[in-house]
Amino acid sequence: MVNSSKVYTVLLVEDDGPTRERLAKAVNKHDQLQVPWQFATLKEGLNQLENTPPDVVLTDLGLPDGHGIDLIRRARQLSETMEIMVISVFGDERNVVSAIEAGATGYLLKDGPADYIGESIIDMLNGSSPISASIARHILKCFRHDAPHLPEGKETKQPEKTPPADIPKLTKRETDVLEYITRGFTFNEVAGILNLSPHTVTSHIKHIYRKLEVKSRSEAVFEAVQLGLVDIRTDK
């Protein structure tokens, strides 16, 4: 829960000057949020992460010297609790899902109203991650195709190629929540239909995001082992 007296620090990485200015202004407008660092490059962002970790990371994906995904991944490595938001535009659900897989807990629409930006960050700090019908659909798809996305021609049914059992799966409840969201229902409506508190629904979303991240990481390791890129034998 958000400590009402605390001011949370936000690291903002966005290469487009005007957008950066607008976002910083919108965030700073909120009493409990402050943007002490704003950068235009991945390198600066990564440096800042190592020096003084912020409470919230707000990053664009397409940066001049690299990909925002790398920043997200590093931030998640440094802190399990850090809130990480990806700055997105509409119609960019795929990239948002990739960011969530890397560890992001939410996304911000670049062109959203100023009020919405600060509120979204506070909501997230309160444990509520945003989601859209399209993102919910993408996530459901990811979990439905349980088999890891092996390279072409590797989908043989040899037992040693089955993915490890510790890849997380969605619970029935989580799947239900996602399915209602896919059909356009709001958190409150979903809570009403499923007899849950609205807060429970939002925390389900956050859980689902973390599961997607863990799943994508273990699948990446699994795939790397399959391809011989990583040796996981412990006797070394």
Partner: protein
């Protein structure tokens, strides 16, 4: 044969082998013992006596070995038994044991030394023990030898009346005779036994081959020929026969002819000729001729067999061999030439044997025909193996060619498929490009043009320009959403639509009543349909916001079945003032536009309006039906 040239060396060797074998068999003779004791005299008398005592009144006449009675002795042709009397002087040294060897007898003999029987080769009653080419050896007990002259009497039982012989009477030290006996037995029995064994093995193998490949009758006939010859060879191998001599003899004669029949069939197939009628006629004739032999009385039986039947068989053999020679010459075929040579050898051996039977040649060398088998087998065997190998090789080549062809074909198919795929993709891409261009002109483009016109005409009221741009942006979102992979899913598309319009409704103080139920997937629901439906909904929401003074917009989905037609019903309605009651509300453009869009994607659109509100019902059929029926179903109220 396409590759017979490379076998020329092999066949040249085979010819050489045949020639050497033929020559060596004729020059082969039994070695003389080193210390043979000369006899004083040899005499002969036809007699049915069973013991020397009965010969007291015998009429002895001088004779010389090899001796054959029968056709050359016209006086006593009715007798099939005779006695020989051989006188010898007592040897000077008596320390070495002596023996008597009869190299060839037709058919059985008993040896008496000074009146005491010292050797016998089986029974004298029918079936008489058969020696043919087998030697008979007897030891002379030292005690029986008297000083001065000793008398050796030999009783010989012939094959039949007028056919009996004794090749020689050799008296020598036992040790030497043993070696000689062994050599003769090996050459005349051992070798034939081996040949017979190989014949049976080859015959069975060939028959097995035929049983697997029934259409290759050539293997069947070859196998049959082998087995028949093996049976024929029993004639010289078995001494004590289990059946009457007549039957046994008949089998021996008949099998020679049957071998000829099998070889004729084989040869026809080998040279690639199909003569079923000739084959049938000859086979029938041969079978009848051989069976008729059985019906003849004994004196005629042997005459017919040796003089007539053998001649017939010889003619058949000659026919086969001439066929081989002619075809070998004509087809310039190594294999056929080799077989022809083989046949000549058989014919020579047969001629020899017939001469022997007819009494023109000596008996001391024995019969030859069965020795021709290894040559025949060698040639035939190598031909069969060569053919087998060739067919295996041919199969391999064919397989490889087939594989190559399949590979080529699949490559071609792949190329074609890729080309088609590319064309298809290009077509799809062009269609999609066209659609997007059209949509952009239709929606966002039009709004932008009118906004530009507004600005150019000096109408720069911020509110209107903002609204206009927002409209363009919103239409762009619609297009992007319709291109999302969720574009194929009606419910997600509706969810995305809701997310987009919620801020607008929220600002206007309207509630969105969301009644979306799970409905089945709509067939062929692509971006095009998604976009048009979203535009219709957007249009509705825009109209409501502008004119209706409504508090709530309700959107619902359900599945309905009407007249056996299942469809998804999509309804959007407001609780506003309705179209009729509102003079400011333009009914024309917006509604017409919606109808146009619905028609474009073959969806029935129904609009109802009253003072309680306005409603649009879209009917999306779940089964694809023809366009005609759709048009009439879409009658607006």
């Amino acid at each position: 044969m396409k590759n017979h040239a490379q076998f020329t060396t092999g066949w040249a060797l085979a010819y050489l082998f045949v020639v050497i074998f033929a020559l060596s068999s004729f020059t082969y003779s039994i070695p003389e013992p080193d210390h043979r004791i000369d006899v004083l005299s040899v005499e002969y008398t036809p007699s049915t006596a069973t013991h020397p005592d009965e010969l007291i009144n015998a009429n002895w006449e001088p004779a010389a070995f090899p001796h054959h009675w029968g056709n050359t002795d016209h006086q006593n042709t009715s007798l099939d038994e005779a006695w020989y009397r051989v006188m010898m002087a007592a040897p000077a040294q008596t320390d070495e044991l002596l023996g008597i060897l009869l190299p060839s007898i037709t058919m059985n003999a008993a040896i008496f030394f000074n009146g005491i029987e010292i050797g016998r080769g089986g029974q004298f009653q029918d079936p008489v023990a058969r020696h043919w080419v087998q030697p008979l050896l007897a030891n002379i007990p030292a005690t029986l030898i008297q000083p001065g002259t000793n008398e050796i009497l030999i009783r010989v039982k012939g094959l039949h009346a007028g056919h009996g012989s004794l090749s020689d009477v050799i008296i020598a030290p036992q040790s030497e005779l043993y070696d000689m006996h062994e050599t003769i037995e090996f050459l005349r029995v051992g070798v034939v036994q081996m040949i017979t064994a190989v014949l049976i093995a080859m015959g069975l193998l060939s028959c097995l081959l035929w049983s697997i490949r029934r259409q290759e009758t050539i293997y069947g006939y070859f196998g049959l020929a082998n087995l028949i010859w093996a049976v024929h060879n029993l004639n010289v191998l078995v001494r004590d026969i289990p059946i009457p001599t007549r039957i046994w003899e008949w089998i021996a004669y008949a099998t020679i002819g049957y071998f000829g029949i099998a070889m004729m069939h084989y040869t026809h197939r080998f040279v690639g000729q199909c003569l079923p009628q000739r084959e049938k006629a000859i086979t029938l004739f041969m079978l009848l001729a051989s069976l008729s032999l059985l019906t003849l009385p004994e004196d005629l039986f042997y005459f017919a067999a040796e003089q007539v039947w053998y001649l017939i068989v010889f003619i058949l053999g000659a026919y086969v061999i001439i066929k081989l020679i002619v075809e070998g010459w004509r087809q310039k075929h190594n294999e056929i030439q080799a077989l022809a040579l083989c046949g000549v050898l058989i014919l020579i051996y047969s001629a020899h044997d017939i001469m022997v039977f007819l009494g023109f040649d000596g008996w001391e060398r024995g019969l030859y025909l069965h020795y021709a088998a290894p040559v025949l087998l060698g040639v035939f065997g190598s031909i069969l193996i060569r053919r087998f190998v060739a067919s295996v090789a041919e199969t391999e080549v064919l397989n490889r060619e087939l594989e190559q062809r399949v590979e080529e074909k699949s490559k071609q198919l792949e190329i074609n498929f890729r080309r088609l795929n590319k064309l298809e993709n290009e077509k799809l891409l062009a269609q999609e490009r066209e659609r997007i261009t059209r949509d952009m002109h239709d929606g966002m483009g039009g709004t932008l043009v009118s906004t530009l016109a507004m600005v150019e005409s000096g109408n720069t009221e911020a509110g209107r320009i903002k609204e206009s741009l927002r409209g363009a942006l919103s239409d762009m979102r619609l297009m992007i959403d319709s291109l999302d992979s969720a574009g194929g899913d009606l419910l997600t598309m509706l969810g995305m639509f809701r997310e987009r319009v919620t801020p607008q409704l929220h600002n206007a103080g309207l509630t969105f009543d969301w009644q979306v139920k799970l409905v089945p997937d709509i067939p062929e629901f692509g971006p095009e349909k998604a976009l048009q439906i979203m535009r219709i909904l957007q249009e509705f929401v825009t109209n409501t916001l502008k004119h209706a003074q409504a508090r709530t917009i309700t959107l619902s989905t359900e599945t309905r079945e009407e007249a056996g037609q299942r469809a998804v019903i999509l309804t959007i309605r407001d609780d506003g003032t309705g179209i009729q009651k509102n003079p400011h509300r333009p009914t024309g453009y917006g509604l017409n536009n919606m109808q146009k869009r619905a028609k474009l994607i073959n969806v029935a659109l129904q609009l109802d309006s009253s003072d309680q509100g306005t409603r649009i019902i879209l009917t999306l059929p779940l089964e694809t039906i023809s366009d005609n029926t759709l048009g009439t179903a879409a009658a607006p109220a």
